[in-house]
Symmetry: C2
Subunit: 249 residues, 2 copies
Amino acid sequence: MTPDAGHPAPSDLKRKGMIEHVSPHHWNALGPLFAERHTYAANTVISRRGATLDHSLLLLDGVVARSIPRANMQHSTFVALQFKGDFVDLHAFPLKQLDHDVVAVTAATVAVIQHAALKQLLDGDIELSRMLWSLTLVDASIHRHWAMRNSSMRGFARVANFFSEIDARLAAALGQQQDTYTIGITQTDIADATGLTPVHVNRVLRDLREDGCCAIASGQLTIMDRARLHRRGDFDPAYLYLPNSDAEL
Amino acid sequence: MTPDAGHPAPSDLKRKGMIEHVSPHHWNALGPLFAERHTYAANTVISRRGATLDHSLLLLDGVVARSIPRANMQHSTFVALQFKGDFVDLHAFPLKQLDHDVVAVTAATVAVIQHAALKQLLDGDIELSRMLWSLTLVDASIHRHWAMRNSSMRGFARVANFFSEIDARLAAALGQQQDTYTIGITQTDIADATGLTPVHVNRVLRDLREDGCCAIASGQLTIMDRARLHRRGDFDPAYLYLPNSDAEL
DNA sequence: CGTATGCTTGAATCACGTCAACTGATGTGG
DNA sequence: CCACATCAGTTGACGTGATTCAAGCATACG
């Protein structure tokens, strides 16, 4: 119960973003378990579908995608994007087996936690266990939203909604809303995430720009008119269960 | 540690389907907590998006959908389907707030567990907690697959893959693979689940029938050629993490 | 009976995919 | 340094998968 006492986490480990679902007190216990750091270049595979993992990753910087390769290969679909402060593959702790690839979309640095160490901590801490459970459930909620978005929204609204989500999540990760974010994703990445072709994404981006919603150039996302963007994308952030947010569902 | 001793669960509570992820031993403790039963008529709402729940449901019979209503209303998208043996909204235990509607697609009967009772049990049982965590993670894996399917597969393959999943999950729920299942869903339901229009679903169903894959009539799904269906739908069941399955990812 | 619901089909339209060519920026090796 | 390759982005022309609108036909039901 001693607040903010004990071993301080390494300086690069900020309790910012989705990880805030873990209370400061519990973070004191969890943070120090992230012993290693790793850096991956853009467009490299971090873990492969089917691999058995004995560790999980907390994303410190960059963008990581969970990607399901299609049978024909060549092309794969992103089923989730992770930003700083996100657990990338916490679900591998209970499940062990990955059902998707984990790839670094941009250069990315992660902190590694061994499942053995995590298990030891969680075995004695039912509250923290439930916080981490909740973290994976927020992921699931986002998955549901992605399924909805890519199933039932047309290109224009779809991409608008996608950028609305990125805006909201990056704002949470950085601690404040901004008008421009440096994310470094390409139009092909957006295509993989939205289920459109790169060519069509390009046209939709032009439409969004001309409509005054947002613009993206060389990996820089600029929100030109947030309210308008949300309207176009029919966006309601409730499903993100943002920490420190009093938004009602 | 006493195997299969203690309070027997009510006779309608079978440990069959996804709930098999809970070990028989733990099921002895969990089963009896499902005190009530409820029955819902087809096309009725069980819980609304945004509601705060103090209980969760185990589906005993029928089909239940998790549905995200679109802004225009009128139309909604299914982001998950639940069959017998599935927890419908276990994620409401840690999260409390629902991010989607829960609707009975066919007549459905559920068993109710109060979160208070569940918490009391889980606070003292870290193993069972982790099993239930895993259950929700399998849900998440299925969500990811739905996102992939509805994002990047064309109508024909999409519906073929959808039926492949239903086949595999119902086989697990019933304890054995069958060539025909009585599920009672309409073509409109299939449209909501696959992100196609009911008219197009109708045409795709004709194609699947004429191709010799499968047929669906008055709620009866008939698998005509499973291998062919899987090939057409590019189906690999690994993502379902089926209990008692030694399938590799 | 009439009305509602689910299924089926045709014709027109449109959103999106495909193919292809071209640009500009960056990088590399001879 | 230039020749060349590579990759992200852009745009045009064209084809097609899917939506939309519409009509018709069943079966079930009050």
